[in-house]
């Protein structure tokens, strides 16, 4: 809707990051929470002309302990499963009110926020519906890789081998036995204008992607890896480092897909061994070399697939241009 702004935006400079805090101090997140940091960065990038729909989960609980709120913008707490549906409703209502002249015509962004459980599990069909209908909104999944708010239960976004309270590690179990669901890929399959993966460690990359997503007309999906010291069983000062290693080992590559064209942003050097990422976290402590090797192979495979997609999409774009 705002192609001018989209074109003018060349990326935030490190020295010019917005100072205003729209996600404020005094929220109740654990020490070193990656999700709270992610929200702070998201809000810095989005600015204050926005309405937020936030599904139940850590990020909702920690920011809205009644009678207080850590939000400086209009914000609505929605059920566990319907952040995307409520965001669709808000977007449609704004459109209708502006059309009828009951609201001044201006650009008001709509942002949906949910945890990985609220996105990959129970909210998946609401998300799919909203993406398919093409509402102009951004969906941010704060992925801490389990249902943290209710006490670390597994979700379909929990990685292979991770110990949670419902995928315990012991003599007969290695923790989570399924591989992490790739929701970004599912979002891509809806052929929406913009899909990106982000991690707060790479804050500039993250804020640029969020800004790009919000200014892109139509639906955009952002998948954010948010290290959670409480659930991942790591020291709270290592939140940033764990995020960095997740990216550098290739466990969580950062990429963006703009109108079907894929670009990998990180890692751009050789992958570090996944062991470096796993060993910082208590949830993987029980894994033997055999399972670490299995994870390593899987990571290589996923990265190779992603690189192939990147090559294919530029090849395809060239072919289309010469058609």
């Amino acid at each position: 809707m705002m192609p001018a702004e989209e074109k003018a935006f060349k990326g935030l400079k490190a020295r010019e990051l917005p100072k205003e805090e729209l996600f404020t101090q005094g929220h109740r997140a654990c020490q070193g929470c990656g999700g709270a940091l992610a929200l702070r960065l998201v809000m810095k990038a989005v600015g204050n002309r926005v309405i937020v729909a936030n599904a139940t989960g850590c990020m909702e609980i920690i920011s809205s302990a009644f009678p207080q709120t850590a939000w400086e913008v209009p914000w609505i707490h929605v059920a566990f499963e319907n952040a995307a549906a409520v965001a669709s409703g808000i977007e449609s209502a704004l459109k209708a009110l502006m059309r009828k002249g009951r609201l001044k015509k201006e650009k008001i962004f709509v942002l949906a926020i949910a945890g990985d459980g609220g996105t990959a599990d129970i909210g998946l069909q609401a998300l799919s519906g909203a993406l398919e209908r093409g509402h102009d909104f951004v969906y941010v999944c704060i992925d801490n890789e389990a249902y943290m708010n209710t006490g670390i239960q597994r979700s379909s976004s929990t990685p292979f081998g991770a110990r949670t309270t419902t995928s315990p590690a012991g003599k007969k179990s290695i923790g989570q036995v399924t591989w992490k669901k790739n929701v970004a890929e599912i979002a891509m399959a809806h052929h929406i204008p913009y899909v990106a993966t982000v991690c707060p460690t790479y804050y500039q990359d993250m804020m640029n992607k969020v800004k790009k997503a919000i200014t892109t007309p139509g639906p955009a999906y952002i998948h954010c890896l948010a290290p959670c010291p409480t659930g991942w069983r790591c020291s709270p000062n290592l939140t940033i480092e764990v995020g960095r290693l997740a990216v550098e080992t290739g466990v969580f590559p950062l990429y963006e897909v703009t109108n079907g064209e894929c670009k990998i942003n990180y890692p751009h050097r050789r992958l570090k061994p996944v062991r470096e990422y796993l060993q910082l976290q208590g949830r993987f402590r029980h894994l033997t070399d055999k399972y670490i090797e299995i994870i390593q192979e899987r990571v290589k495979e996923e990265i190779a697939k992603l690189q192939a997609l990147e090559k294919f999409s530029s090849f395809y774009k060239n072919a289309l241009a010469n058609f």
Partner: protein, 97 residues
């Protein structure tokens, strides 16, 4: 710590229990969760702002000289700033009672 009145009669609630004061969580000082506090050595600090941008509590504020100073009213003592400072200008020390 500032006392907050969390128990309110339902007659006083807004429609839909709406909270009408934006950013009111600022009244809740999370600093007393802390067991360690960050100490900045200004001589080593290069004023890059890494501590400020990585702080999940938004506890760091820039002063007139461009140094980033931690607001201990909110700092929960996670130690991210000390870990991420590229020149090691921040150290965490145990909070004495």
């Amino acid at each position: 710590m500032a006392k907050i009145d969390a128990i309110v009669s339902w007659k006083k609630l807004n429609l839909g229990a709406a909270i009408t004061e934006p950013g009111s969580a600022r009244q809740f000082l999370t600093g007393d969760w802390r067991t360690q506090r960050p100490i900045l050595n200004k001589e080593e600090c290069i004023r890059c702002g890494r501590c400020w941008i990585y702080c999940p509590e938004a506890a760091y504020n820039e002063d007139e000289e461009g140094y980033f100073i931690c607001d201990l009213n909110y700092c929960k003592g996670c130690g991210i700033c000390a870990q991420e400072c590229p020149v090691g200008a921040i150290t965490m020390t145990l909070e004495e009672t």
